[in-house]
Every structure is written in structure tokens, then in C-alpha cells.
């Protein structure tokens, strides 16, 4: 390669001081800064969600408790739902996608950075609006607020309006992020990186972004209708005058079911990267995993009516929902088979990311199996809307978003900050969380499936065989809360005090480990030609070969006397 002489670049220094960090942060359109804002905010809201869940469990620790008022409980429930879904799970997923995927495909930035910046700003506006609404009159309508309870006639204060506006702003933000990510993933891949060589997490980002592009606008449409109903005498969801309360259920469940799948797609993508790195093996049959991830997005979202098994929708649709739910066994089963086969034959380094990834697979498996039972139509008539359903959702989503999210955090934290998170605290946190999750949610299976305890109720009655289950579940929630806080504290401490990581602490195979930790604003000075799904491994092998070749003559030299 011949060097072309370049004119010397003279950079005129900024007059005065460099701009303060917070201005840099709030005005930056760099995907790494924006991704870090999303991830940090998401974990902040995880803390809030955990506090809210614990407060609700405190109310439900003993029968007929009066710690919270009925209205207070409903407000806490609504706030918890929105926080966990819109301000923790989805932003965490998009934060990590947005930070990592462009690095993995060797992009020097995103394709539409200002759109991504707008997305993060809209998400931020949503959180501020929601929690300032929380100070006054939060929504009382539940996690998925079913019409017509949300109509003005039944909840006349501004809580539902604040809920709808805040979740709408955040969702619009996610849609913009998805557009930016998709454009980036399509247009800015490194030379040689065909789709069949795209890292699996970046593929998960592609599938997840497509999914958000489909389900986000559906929710936005439903929220718009709700706002028109409440503020401009609309009748979309009102009964009696041509409206249809069930319409809200269809539209909102399409979004919530899709979001559930989005979290699992994210988690499985991250777990696949971690399993592959920490076993030192390539992903077992990439094509099958890629196809299965896409299949989960499509089939899983089509199963939305699984949530409407007790509504008057006709038995045919219920069978359709059951068929879709059971068909999900195939892509999920294939992915888990390939993930476990990835570990087999490897040399497993049991570090924190692998530990959390294994925990995530285990928890997700319990959640999905419980969802399987929830999808059998007549069985759903008995166990839907009982705490069995609560437990199923929480196993899948705590497994996907919290265990999976923490696995991803431990894995990519060195890349984001240049420092590794503490291993001892990671282990402590992991085992506390495993115990906490099992103790918190397994009793709810029994309370729901055996005793029929209904969900969302601010109290339960004594003498129904529910006391012990609920008390144990409340204790478990506290343990889980402690476990979550341990990792959050670990992250805050390690940000300053963690061990220096270097650019590639785990020996990863994908291109994000080619950059500095944290990466320069432009990510890459040079890009390797991508020849396989494991470009970093190719580079390491090339270096090893060259070193071996260079060292060859040295060994043949005569020893010096």
C-alpha cells in the first residue's frame, strides 16, 4: 500500500474552555452517548420499578392489609407497569442495540443520528411527563389499561391522559430509534459483512427494530384514539354509540405481546454472543438461530389474542392464538437447543456475563413453559388473570430483561467505560437474584393455579389458603430487590474503581472489540475486511500466524556463547 501524502491538518483550538460534559451529553448525536443515556436511564427505572413492585408486595404480604388504599394500589400498579415496560425494558433493549450494533457491524456512526437523538429526547420527555404526572394524579387503570375503564366517564382525572401521552412519547422515540438502527444496519455494514456474517446481536437488533416499526405505530394509533375519546368526545372505545371496547384490547395487546417478544429477542441475541465468547466456540448453526429470531417476532406477535381468551372474540380466534403460542415452541426450542449446543464442547470461562446468561436461559425457560400452559384455551379460562399469569410473565421478562440485561451489562460494560465490573459482587448479586426470583414468583404459580388468586387486586382475603404463598412471595421480592441493587451498585462503583479492561477483555469475536474502550467518537480508524462471522478471531489468528512466522528465523540462530 502506498501512502499518499496528506496536507497537514490544522485544527483551530476552541476559544476558551471545552464545553461542559452535560452539554456534550445532551447535544450529542453519537450513538454511543445516546445509547449510554438510554441504558443508564433504563437501569434507573429498573430500580424504581423494583421499589414499586416491592411496595405492592408489601401491601399483599398479609391478607386484607391496609398499608395502601385501593386507589393508591391501583396507581402504584399502573406506574409499575409503565415503568417496567416503557421506561426499563424497551429502552434498555434499544439502548444496548443502539450502542453495540453499529460497533458490531463496523459503522463509524449511525445513518440518521439526529433522528436517533430525537428518539432519545422523546423518550426522555415521556419519562419526565410520566413521573411529574405521578406527583399529581397517576393513572389508576392498570398495566394494560383496558377500555372503557380508561374513558372519561370512569376515570375523570388526568392520570390516564398523562399515561397515554407519556407512553406515546416514549413509543414514538423507540420507533425513531428503530428507523435509525435499521437504516444503519442496512447501509453501513463494514466491507465484506454480508447478512450471513452479521453478528447475532446485530441481527437481533435488526429483527427487533423491524418489530418495533410494526407494533409501535399500532400502539400510537390506539393511544391517539384514546386521547380523542377522552378530550374531544370521541367514541372509539366507548360502548353504545358505535365504539368497541374490544378494539383497544386488540391494538394494545398487539403492542404488548410484540414488546414481550422484543425483550426475548434481545435477550437471546445477547446470550448467543456471550455463550459463543465464553465457550470459545462459534454459534452452533447461525442460520437456524437467525431464522428463529425472525420467526419469534412474527409468530409471537400474531399470538396477541392469547391475552383475550376470556373475551367474547369467538372460539376460532382462541384456537388461532393457541396455535401461534404453541408454534412458538419451535423457534424458541431451536434457539435454546443451539445455544446449549454452543456451550457443549467448549471451554467455559465462568465469568459474570456467562453466569447471568445461563441464569437468563433458565428463567426464560420457566416463563415460556408457564406461558405454554396459559395458551391452552380451556386452561386459560381457569388460570388467566390469576397470579399464575403474573408469575409466568415475570419469569420470562425478569429472565429476559433483568438477567439478560445484566448479562449484557456485564459483557459490554468494559467496552462502554474501559473498566470491568467487580466479579465478587456479580456472583453475590447473581445468586441473590436467583433465590429472589424463585422465592418471589414460584409461590404465585401455586396461589394462581391452585387457589385462583386474581391479579391486580389490592387485597386478598384470609382463609382461602393464600396467606403463606403471598408472604413468601413478598419476602422473595425483597431478596430479588437486594440482588438487583447489588449489580446496580457494582456498576456505579466499577465505573470509577473497576479494573482497567483494555480493548478486548473477553476475547470476543465481533468487531466492537476491535475499538478502544470506550471507543473513539468515530469508532474505527481502520476497518478489517470481514471474511467470516468472527472477524476478531480472524485478526487474532492472522497476528498469531505472523508472529510465528517472524519468530521462526530467530529460533534457528546460533545461541550466543
Amino acid at each position: 500500500m502506498s501512502e499518499t501524502p496528506r496536507p497537514e491538518l490544522v485544527v483551530e483550538g476552541f476559544p476558551g474552555r471545552p464545553r461542559p460534559r452535560w452539554i456534550e451529553l445532551t447535544t450529542s448525536a453519537d450513538h454511543k452517548e445516546l445509547g449510554r443515556i438510554l441504558i443508564t436511564a433504563a437501569f434507573g427505572f429498573l430500580f424504581l420499578a423494583a421499589v414499586e413492585l416491592f411496595l405492592m408486595r408489601l401491601q399483599l404480604a398479609i391478607p386484607e392489609n391496609s398499608f395502601m388504599s385501593p386507589v393508591g394500589f391501583n396507581r402504584m400498579l399502573s406506574t409499575y407497569g409503565a415503568t417496567a415496560v416503557f421506561f426499563f425494558a424497551i429502552p434498555l433493549v434499544f439502548g444496548l442495540f443502539y450502542y453495540v450494533a453499529p460497533l458490531q457491524i463496523g459503522a463509524r456512526g449511525t445513518a440518521l443520528p439526529r433522528l436517533g437523538q430525537l428518539g432519545v429526547a422523546l423518550f426522555g420527555a415521556g419519562t419526565v411527563l410520566f413521573y411529574s404526572g405521578f406527583m399529581f394524579t397517576p393513572s389508576e387503570a392498570g398495566v394494560n389499561p383496558l377500555a372503557p375503564l380508561t374513558e372519561l366517564a370512569f376515570l375523570s382525572n388526568n392520570g390516564v391522559d398523562a399515561w397515554a401521552a407519556a407512553t406515546g412519547l416514549a413509543t414514538l422515540g423507540f420507533v425513531f430509534l428503530a428507523i435509525d438502527l435499521l437504516t444503519t444496519l442496512r447501509r453501513l455494514r463494514a466491507p465484506g459483512m454480508a447478512w450471513r456474517r452479521v453478528p447475532i446481536f446485530a441481527w437481533a437488533a435488526t429483527v427487533g427494530s423491524w418489530l418495533m416499526l410494526v407494533i409501535g405505530p399500532v400502539l400510537l394509533a390506539a393511544l391517539t384514539m384514546l386521547m380523542i375519546d377522552r378530550n374531544y368526545d370521541g367514541i372509539f372505545f366507548a360502548d353504545g354509540s358505535g365504539g368497541a371496547p374490544l378494539l383497544w384490547q386488540h391494538l394494545s395487546w398487539i403492542f404488548f405481546t410484540g414488546a414481550y417478544m422484543l425483550v426475548l429477542i434481545f435477550a437471546l441475541g445477547a446470550i448467543a454472543e456471550i455463550f459463543s465468547t465464553f465457550s470459545g466456540k462459534p454459534l452452533f448453526n447461525r442460520p437456524a438461530v437467525m431464522v428463529s429470531l425472525a420467526a419469534i417476532a412474527v409468530i409471537g406477535t400474531l399470538a396477541w389474542m392469547q391475552n383475550m381468551m376470556t373475551a367474547p372474540i369467538g372460539i376460532g380466534w382462541m384456537y388461532f392464538a393457541m396455535l401461534m403460542s404453541l408454534a412458538l415452541l419451535i423457534p424458541f426450542g431451536l434457539i435454546l437447543f443451539n445455544l446449549i449446543s454452543t456451550l457443549a464442547g467448549g471451554v467455559l470461562r465462568m465469568r459474570a456475563p456467562l453466569l447471568f446468561a445461563i441464569g437468563a436461559v433458565s428463567m426464560i425457560s420457566i416463563g415460556l413453559a408457564a406461558e405454554l400452559e396459559q395458551s391452552l384455551v380451556a386452561a386459560a379460562w381457569q388460570i388467566k388473570n390469576t397470579t399464575d399469569a403474573t408469575a409466568a410473565t415475570h419469569f420470562a421478562l425478569v429472565g429476559g430483561a433483568v438477567f439478560g440485561g445484566f448479562a449484557a451489562l456485564y459483557y459490554w460494560f468494559p467496552k462502554m467505560t474501559g473498566r470491568t465490573m467487580g466479579e465478587y459482587m456479580a456472583r453475590l448479586s447473581f445468586w441473590t437474584m436467583v433465590v429472589g426470583t424463585l422465592v418471589a414468583f414460584v409461590p404465585l404459580f401455586f396461589a394462581g393455579a391452585e387457589q385462583g388468586q386474581v391479579i391486580d387486586a389490592y387485597k386478598f382475603f384470609a382463609g382461602k389458603g393464600l396467606d403463606a404463598y403471598n408472604l413468601i412471595a413478598s419476602i422473595g421480592t425483597l431478596i430479588l430487590f437486594v440482588g438487583i441493587v447489588l449489580t446496580l451498585v457494582n456498576a456505579i462503583q466499577s465505573r470509577v474503581n473497576g479494573a482497567e479492561a483494555g480493548h478486548d477483555p473477553w476475547g470476543g469475536d465481533t468487531l466492537e472489540w476491535f475499538t478502544l474502550s470506550p471507543p473513539e467518537p468515530h469508532n474505527f480508524d481502520v476497518l478489517p475486511d470481514v471474511r467470516s462471522p468472527r472477524p476478531m478471531r480472524d485478526i487474532r489468528e492472522a497476528i498469531a500466524n505472523r508472529t510465528a512466522r517472524d519468530e521462526q528465523p530467530a529460533r534457528e540462530q546460533q545461541p550466543v556463547a
Partner: protein, 232 residues
């Protein structure tokens, strides 16, 4: 929960099938995962084997999963169909309900259930039905979505405003069965309960007459008071 009707018997069986299927999934995944993790914990100097898979094994796994899902799906349909089958009124049941099920209208409202019987009598909170008799509840709502949920007698179903939903069941045993509404419907949702009293056909008839007589007497009294000008 203990089944006391033919429908809930079927549901109970399906719940067990679902539980076994779920247990198979959980055990298979976790046993495989933990065995692999134990077996391949890092050993000094070992080299990871760079295995990837061919297509054939993927098709085999997918085939096995499809077969499993298909079996569960078919069992799900079979038992759901059995559970929603219209039960027939037995010998001890109400004679009038031999041909057509006894139709009772159940109206959900914040936060109470109202039951209307064929003879025009109605009751709040408590539903009285004859034993061994096919009953069809027509679920409607006057305000928000409510879920009628008496797990010992039937599956839960929603009362959605503007629509009519149906629950059919036949109580096999006399007794009192509790139920709690199962969809968040506002402040007093947790207090929205109901009770089904299953009584003999004779006692049911007596209840209907009594209830109708009481309602008419009360009605008359109110009308009388209004006519006398004692209440505005």
C-alpha cells in the same frame, strides 16, 4: 379449586396436561443446560472444539418440537371442546330446563353482579341455581369490562359492554361456591365478589317465588309511599 361441574372436570384435566407439558419443557432445557455447564467448565490447556452444526440435526430438532407442539395443540382443542360442550340437565335437575338450558342474565357493574332469572325476579351478589341443571349465563356489562369468575363451576369469561358473552355449566353438587371478579375495574375491584348457591330444583323454585314475591311487595310499598306523598 375443586371441579364441581362436567366443564371444570375437563378444564382440570387440561390443566394437568398443560402442567406436564410445561414440566417437560422446563426439565429438558434446564437439565441439558446444567449438564453441559458442569461438563465443560474450563480446564487448563483445553482447546474449545470448533463445532458447528449441519442442517440435518436442525430439521430433526425442529421436527421433534413440531410433533410435541402438535400433540399439545390437539389435546388443547379436544379438551377445550369438551369443556365448552353444552351439558344436559340430569334427573335431579329442573324439569323446565330439559330441552333448553336455564338462561340467566348476569350483569356486571362497578362493583356488583346482578342476576336476572326467567320469571323476572332478580338478585344481587348471590346467584341461586338448581343442581344438575344446564345453566347458561348471558354476561353483559353496564360500564367497564368485568370478568365473571367462579372457578369451581366454570371457566372465567368477560362481560364486555356492548357485547354478550356466554358461560354454560351444570353444577353437580349442592353447595356455596365463591367467585371474585378477575379484571381490574376500578377502586373496589378487589371487593367485587359473587357467590353461587347450588340448591335442589325444588328449593330453586321456592327461591324464585319468594324472591319475586319480595320484590313485588317492596315495589308496591314504594309505589304506595309515593302515592301517599310520604316520599317525594
Amino acid at each position: 379449586m375443586a371441579p364441581h361441574s362436567p366443564g371444570t372436570d375437563q378444564i382440570d384435566t387440561l390443566l394437568w396436561i398443560g402442567f406436564i407439558a410445561a414440566a417437560i419443557v422446563v426439565v429438558a432445557i434446564n437439565v441439558a443446560l446444567f449438564r453441559v455447564v458442569r461438563q465443560y467448565r474450563s480446564e487448563r490447556g483445553a482447546e474449545p472444539r470448533q463445532l458447528t452444526s449441519g442442517r440435518r440435526i436442525q430439521f430433526r430438532v425442529a421436527g421433534a418440537l413440531t410433533a410435541f407442539a402438535a400433540v399439545v395443540f390437539i389435546l388443547g382443542i379436544v379438551f377445550t371442546d369438551k369443556a365448552r360442550e353444552q351439558p344436559s340437565t340430569g334427573a335431579a335437575g329442573l324439569a323446565a330446563a330439559k330441552e333448553e338450558p336455564l338462561e340467566i342474565k348476569a350483569t356486571g357493574q362497578q362493583w356488583l353482579w346482578r342476576y336476572e332469572y326467567p320469571n323476572g325476579a332478580f338478585s344481587y351478589y348471590k346467584l341461586v341455581v338448581p343442581v344438575d341443571t344446564a345453566v347458561e349465563l348471558d354476561l353483559v356489562s353496564t360500564d367497564v369490562v368485568h370478568t365473571w369468575n367462579v372457578p369451581d363451576l366454570a371457566g372465567k369469561h368477560d362481560a364486555v359492554p356492548g357485547k354478550t358473552n356466554h358461560v354454560v355449566f351444570r353444577a353437580d353438587d349442592e353447595g356455596e361456591f365463591d367467585g371474585e371478579a378477575a379484571t381490574l375495574s376500578g377502586q373496589a375491584y378487589a371487593a367485587m365478589r359473587t357467590e353461587v348457591d347450588v340448591v335442589s330444583a325444588q328449593a330453586y323454585k321456592e327461591f324464585l317465588e319468594q324472591q319475586k314475591g319480595d320484590i313485588e311487595a317492596a315495589q308496591k310499598r314504594v309505589v304506595g309511599l309515593i302515592e301517599n306523598g310520604e316520599v317525594p
